[in-house]
Symmetry: C2
Subunit: 249 residues, 2 copies
Amino acid sequence: MDTRVGTGKERAVNGHGETGGFCTTCVFGLQFVPHGIDRSLLDELQLVMRHVGPFRRGAVVFRAGEPLRALYAVRSGVLKTVYAGSAGREYIAGFHLPGEMVGLAAIHAGRFPCDAVAVDTAYLCRFEFRSLTALTARAPAMQEQLLRLLSRDIGSAILLAGDHSADERVAAFLIRLGRRFAARGCSASEFRLPMGRRDIANHLGLAPETVSRAFGRLQQQGWIRVRERSVSLLRADELLRLAGALLPA
Amino acid sequence: MDTRVGTGKERAVNGHGETGGFCTTCVFGLQFVPHGIDRSLLDELQLVMRHVGPFRRGAVVFRAGEPLRALYAVRSGVLKTVYAGSAGREYIAGFHLPGEMVGLAAIHAGRFPCDAVAVDTAYLCRFEFRSLTALTARAPAMQEQLLRLLSRDIGSAILLAGDHSADERVAAFLIRLGRRFAARGCSASEFRLPMGRRDIANHLGLAPETVSRAFGRLQQQGWIRVRERSVSLLRADELLRLAGALLPA
DNA sequence: ATCGCCGCTTGACCTGGATCAATGACGGCC
DNA sequence: GGCCGTCATTGATCCAGGTCAAGCGGCGAT
């Protein structure tokens, strides 16, 4: 079964479950409403939102070129967003963990610039786009949160663009992954990689072999322990120093 | 005088000038209102907006770490946004031409993640952030436009992150610059580079020498003509083919 | 007009990471 | 249980682009 991560997540999140009919992953996981919120707005959010899935490994959620009809949030599992490059090359812009939003880059042109593909069996929330913007227009807190999500994506994309060594990239990747797991209530220093080496390499702009060697070097230093897809971050301080400027402040 | 480009722009834009007290660069250049708009909303936009400048070459508009109080739009001149890297390295995430928005990446954390520095004497519009979001909350068309601007930045940042050859990067850079000039009513195929080689190289993640050689190769092919900061794109078709996946659809 | 500075170009060399190739370790399937 | 396809690691080689080091030309200052 390849749903290990997915089910783990679901349990973690659904522990305090779908309180009163609401999907906590969507509402609180997205932090659409950081502090507390009008009950009526919650109801409205509920209305523009629909649960979809499962998408099994390799299944496509949307394809590049399709008109933007809806944005998606991951409830469980993992997605990747894939841009087509020249000569059949493709580039993985990001991985999306539970509570994270997918498709924001489509707003600009009104159509998706990339494919979204399940890396590990995924369940999603689907937000009808027009209704969502109508809603955020009436709820300033939500509008601002949506802006914040977009703005965050700009930041992370920019970080990948700088020129950094393979070890820096890998260290930063691990740290960020850990932080994102932590945000979901999992361990920040011990986790399973939801994706294979090839995908990691592609995402970081490296060859799979280089990722392997980088893992090797970091392990050599005693800063991490990698065994297949299980990772332990032993010296977060050193990794952090290495990753340096590659991490969001 | 180093305001050659700046003054050229100003003339082009201010030809149909500040109609009825409005800054056309801000309102229409930003395309906050693509088609037509309520006069009252225009008045409100006017209220949250203030003209500032000039910022002379090298002058700082905001610094990394400062709390986000306002967003900026370029009226004339050119800005660059600079991220601090490790070991004193710095990375230019983008250049900002008249009509373009600066500072959007700050929304996420509420503080600027980068410096904004004038590349060429610049005049700006300053939008008080809280008032701006309050306004967009009441004007759905503006909200959507703001979302679109953010989304576009995600797209362009992602493109730079892929792995592409030096020639591809340079070709894409020139084409995009041309398009942006064209959007301001200037020639898409003949223009002056507002920034030096060092800045171009840094932005593209290359060494200045490599940019120079790439220019050389493209010129060799007869696809461009470069003389100092003057550029002519002679074979846009070939450049486009080269730039390929590095360009927004 | 001359000088000096700085940005651009050009050449020679070096290196990090890509590429190619071979081997080992799982996991799925019959 | 044995077979095979996929994925990860490891070693050997190659190359695009970085680095170092001169030249060159334009422009501002005196």
